[in-house]
């Protein structure tokens, strides 16, 4: 089973502290890998401008690295900072890692006339172009994310070992949000793209549990023709894409995510103040209903965090913390490891109807129930 840990704090912290939480939860996973997503970046070696896109990935060969360079140049990106990890390759299982890429770019000047949405779309297309280039060359180039203020690392091996191999304990990189997941997808065969968290246009999710409704959801998302809805090396990738679809494409409030993936029953909808709208939403998004067992942890571009469960709540997750600092983990001991000095009596384990929202100010968590009034858009 996957083990998940997420910490969000107003003051940037080292991702290594989250890896130690993973270690606390070690009984529950096979230690096959690590997926990390950092938001709200701070580099000790470089003063980072939060508007600049950051590219995360792995060049497995020298040739791949130079192609990466060429692709970014061709699109007009200007390299501002190339983070050199203090790597100890002896601690990495895989032998074909030429360079872990974490590069800050200046956006192409040609994009100055684009809207925010167009710019975001272009960043996604660039990431997909890098991915496609790698796939066309025996997978020698892996691109995880290209987005302002976001860095991603995915690697095979014991999470703490991977962290040490990349020198994360040095604190040269810090972030306000860190999502960590401790497993490669050993169910299906190891592929770095299959490792959580999954990222699309600023949105990231990680999940524990198998997604039994994967194929119909994948078929539907693939049919939308949106260029970013590809991959699906893991059945959990659809959770990120559904969140993207609900918030970015349908432009519905975050709470709609829960109503889409685990809609209420008819009897519950008939007692709901916006039952008619929600029933319609359930019908039109019927192919996006998940069946679990899953706990989904997601973060958005504005550093908002959410946590939702499947309708049968067959996977656990706990949220705890204090104003300015919150943690979510699949095990309570994970929360303990990340924020030991909190009031544990206020820890919360969401039930099937809950969406936990930690807003960017991180002052308090919002426990929103599906039975509550839905923050309606004009549409409803």
């Amino acid at each position: 089973m996957c083990r998940l840990a997420m910490k969000t704090a107003n003051k940037p912290f080292s991702p290594f502290s989250v890896l130690t939480a993973m270690e606390a939860m070690q009984e529950g996973y096979d230690g096959s890998g690590l997926g990390l997503l950092l938001r709200g970046l701070e580099f000790t070696d470089y003063k980072y401008n939060q508007e600049d896109p950051v590219l995360s990935g792995i060049a497995h060969t020298e040739a791949a690295l130079s192609r990466l360079h060429a692709i970014m140049n061709e699109r007009g990106f200007v390299l501002k900072y190339d983070h050199e990890f203090d790597t100890d390759m002896s601690k990495i299982e895989a032998k074909d890692r030429h360079k872990y890429v974490l590069r800050v770019f200046k956006k192409p000047e040609a994009w100055n006339s684009l809207t925010k949405e167009q710019t975001e779309h272009e960043m996604m297309l660039t990431r997909l172009a890098l991915r496609a280039d790698g796939e066309a060359n025996n997978g020698d180039l892996t691109a995880f994310s290209l987005w302002p203020d976001v860095a991603m690392i995915k690697e095979v091996g014991w999470p703490l070992g991977v962290g040490e191999a990349l020198g994360l304990e040095s604190g040269r990189i810090k972030s306000r949000v860190c999502m960590a997941q401790g497993r490669q997808n050993t169910n299906w065969g190891i592929n770095l793209y299959a490792c959580h968290p999954f990222f699309i246009e600023g949105i990231a999710t990680m999940t524990n549990g198998e997604n039994t409704a994967f194929l119909p959801i994948k078929d539907w998302l693939s049919g939308k023709g949106f260029p970013g809805y590809i991959g699906y090396q893991s059945d959990s990738e659809v959770f990120a894409h559904i969140l993207h679809y609900v918030t970015n494409q349908l432009k519905l409030p975050l709470q709609a995510y829960k109503h889409v993936i685990t809609p209420l029953k008819n009897s519950e909808l008939s007692a709901h103040p916006q039952g008619d709208f929600l029933r319609g939403l359930r019908d039109v998004c019927r192919r996006l209903i998940i069946d679990g067992p899953n706990a989904v942890i997601g973060t958005l571009a504005d550093e908002t965090t959410i946590l939702v469960m499947d309708a049968k709540k067959m996977r656990p997750a706990t949220v705890g913390g204090k104003p300015g600092e919150w943690a979510i983990a699949s095990e309570m001991c994970g929360v303990d490891a990340m924020i030991p000095d909190r009031d544990r009596s206020k820890d919360f384990q969401p039930m099937r109807e809950h969406t936990i929202i930690i807003p960017p100010d991180r002052q308090e968590i919002e426990i929103w129930s599906q039975f509550d009034q839905f923050p309606l858009t004009q549409a409803a």
Binding site: A213, V284, R286, G292, P293
Partner: protein, 545 residues
């Protein structure tokens, strides 16, 4: 040359051994009550006294050599029209198990059933015994360790499906904002009682089905709907609150639609949907056929025709000029008649051209679904050659339509319904769930519900199959009150409820091991496997062995 008259050598003459069903009679058990002869729907049986010689060797010249004994025996009529149909009514009424029909696989009847130049017709089924392709599909993606299995008896399951045009989410939200029309959508149980007309079925059968459907909805909470075939609906039903459980069919003869249109102002509720029949799996390219035997006074009144005449519907709708003309205009017209509050969808025969129809519907914003009826579908009356050899099996036809919709991202917008042999060997839930996982939003069943709810005697060995003649031994497809009063509507209703309760439980037993409970697993083809490589490749599912 003059033929020898003493030996039957007429080209068309048959002996009992040439018939598809041979009656076996045991004199030692027969009580001579005569019930078998009385009940036989085709009058093939004749109990008669016969004489046989008892030879013995006699040495005395004053005695006769043999004596004669009379006994009671059965004569089986070898006339083609009065051959035994194998229904087994005789066995059903015999108090002593002295009589029953046995199937004769080497009959010669099949070469002689064209008397008077009439091509053979029958009701019922295709008569292809053995497991169907659907029977061979198994559910292989079992939740065990990577995700826990669900408990079919304890967890809540959401098993309903949608009938009606579903908008793309973006369009739904846009129309919500602007207050525009949102197409009607019905939430129904995915196993639907398929189109069988009030005319094909007896009044008692129809009433029993409707009672059972109402009970499923109102007491059991299973939203079952049933479809009428062509030929309308009794006026009291049209004006009743039960109309919401009924899919009204309009077909090329437009039979019964005078009554329906006249009843619209008095309807208490809308019908579940309107089905426009363009084709039928059992007899593609043929219109409906209600043979004169069944056009009783009641049926004649409902359909607005004289009594006792054959009622063939034309093979195509009179309005058919092109697919756009026919399908689009008819769908719009029917939508308008019911104030755009009732889903309207076409029913077609399984065909290589089904995808073309589908793609037309995708572009028609009023089309509520597509129903495809495969070659194994049943009928009240059809020519043998249509039933046996014309049409397309449902599985691959449905699958290619579904995958076509997936490629366009439209699989949630036009629900596909499948029919044609679903449950023909009794595996109703397994067959239906296999089709659902291949992409159907639901399945229609006709023959199965007749067998399950009313005890239809038909099987794939050409047993009975006389639905067309109005002599149904069980009273299911007869319009003769002397026959259909055999069928108790209350008992039919009870069996309908039992059938759907059992299907519901079996659905849970299929869904739970797959880890599915929150929605019907439409298109979940990763759960399917079949031990036939070619079929696996064609259906794009896993080959298992």
């Amino acid at each position: 040359m003059v033929s020898i008259r003493s030996i039957s050598s007429d080209p068309g003459s048959l002996s009992p051994n040439d018939l598809p069903w041979i009656i076996e009679h045991r004199e030692d058990r027969c009580t001579l009550c005569g019930k078998c002869a009385a009940v036989c729907p085709v009058n093939t049986l004749k109990l008669t006294y016969m004489r046989k010689r008892m030879p013995k060797i006699v040495l005395s010249s004053t005695e006769r050599g043999s004596s004669y004994k009379t006994f009671v025996g059965i004569r089986q009529n070898t006339d083609v029209g009065r051959r035994c149909i194998g229904c087994g009514s005789c066995a059903m009424v015999c108090p002593n198990e002295a009589i029953h029909p046995t199937h004769n696989k080497t009959d010669r009847y099949r070469f002689q059933n064209t008397k008077g130049g009439e091509a053979p017709k029958r009701g019922g089924r295709r008569n292809e015994p053995g497991p169907t392709l659907l029977d061979k599909i198994s559910f292989n993606r079992i939740s065990m360790l990577t995700d826990p299995a669900l408990d079919a008896g304890r967890h809540e399951f959401s098993m309903n499906t949608l009938l009606g045009r579903v908008l793309p989410p973006e369009e739904f939200i846009r129309r919500q904002t602007t207050g525009e029309w949102i197409p009607p959508v019905r939430e129904i149980f995915p196993f639907i009682i398929g189109s069988m007309s009030f005319g094909a079925l007896s009044p008692n059968m129809w009433l029993g089905l409707l009672q059972g459907v109402a009970y499923c909805n109102e007491v059991l909470g299973i939203p079952v709907v049933m479809a009428t075939g062509e030929g309308g609906c009794p006026p009291w039903v049209l004006k009743s609150p039960f109309l919401k459980y009924i899919i009204l069919q309009i077909a090329s003869g437009y039979f019964g639609w005078d009554e329906i249109i006249r009843a619209i102002p008095e309807m208490q509720c809308d019908p579940a949907a309107i089905e426009i029949k363009y084709g039928q799996g059992a007899k593609p390219g043929d219109g409906g056929l209600l043979m004169w035997y069944k056009v009783s006074k009641l049926i004649a009144r409902l359909r607005g025709v004289p009594e006792g005449v054959d009622l063939p519907s034309p093979p195509v709708h009179q309005t058919l000029y092109s697919i756009e003309e026919s399908v689009m205009k008819m769908i719009q017209t029917m939508s308008m008649a019911f104030n755009f509050k009732v889903p309207v969808y076409p029913k077609i025969s399984g065909s290589n051209s089904a995808k073309s129809v589908l793609n037309n519907l995708v572009r028609n914003p009023y089309a509520g679904a597509l129903m495809i009826d495969g070659i194994d579908g049943g009928t009240g009356a059809a020519y043998n050659v249509s039933m046996d050899a014309t049409g397309h099996p449902i599985a691959s036809n449905l699958r290619e339509c579904y995958l076509d919709l997936c490629a366009q991202g439209k699989q949630n917008e036009i629900p596909l319904f499948a029919a044609g042999g679903v449950g023909k060997n009794g595996n109703i839930t397994q067959n239906g769930m296999a089709l659902i996982m291949l992409g159907a939003s639901g399945v229609h069943m006709g023959k199965f519900i007749m067998q399950s709810a009313a005890g239809c005697l038909g099987n794939e060995q050409n047993r009975c199959n006389v639905c067309n003649l109005g002599i149904c031994p069980k009273g299911i497809t007869s319009q003769n009150p002397k026959i259909y009063r055999r069928l108790d509507p209350d008992r039919v209703a009870e069996r309908v409820a039992e059938t759907f309760m059992s299907i519901q439980t079996e659905m849970k037993k299929v869904m739970a091991p797959l880890g599915r409970s929150q929605s019907l697993p439409i298109g979940m083809s990763d759960a399917l496997g079949i031990g036939d490589k070619d079929a696996a490749e064609r259906l794009n599912i896993r080959y298992v062995c």
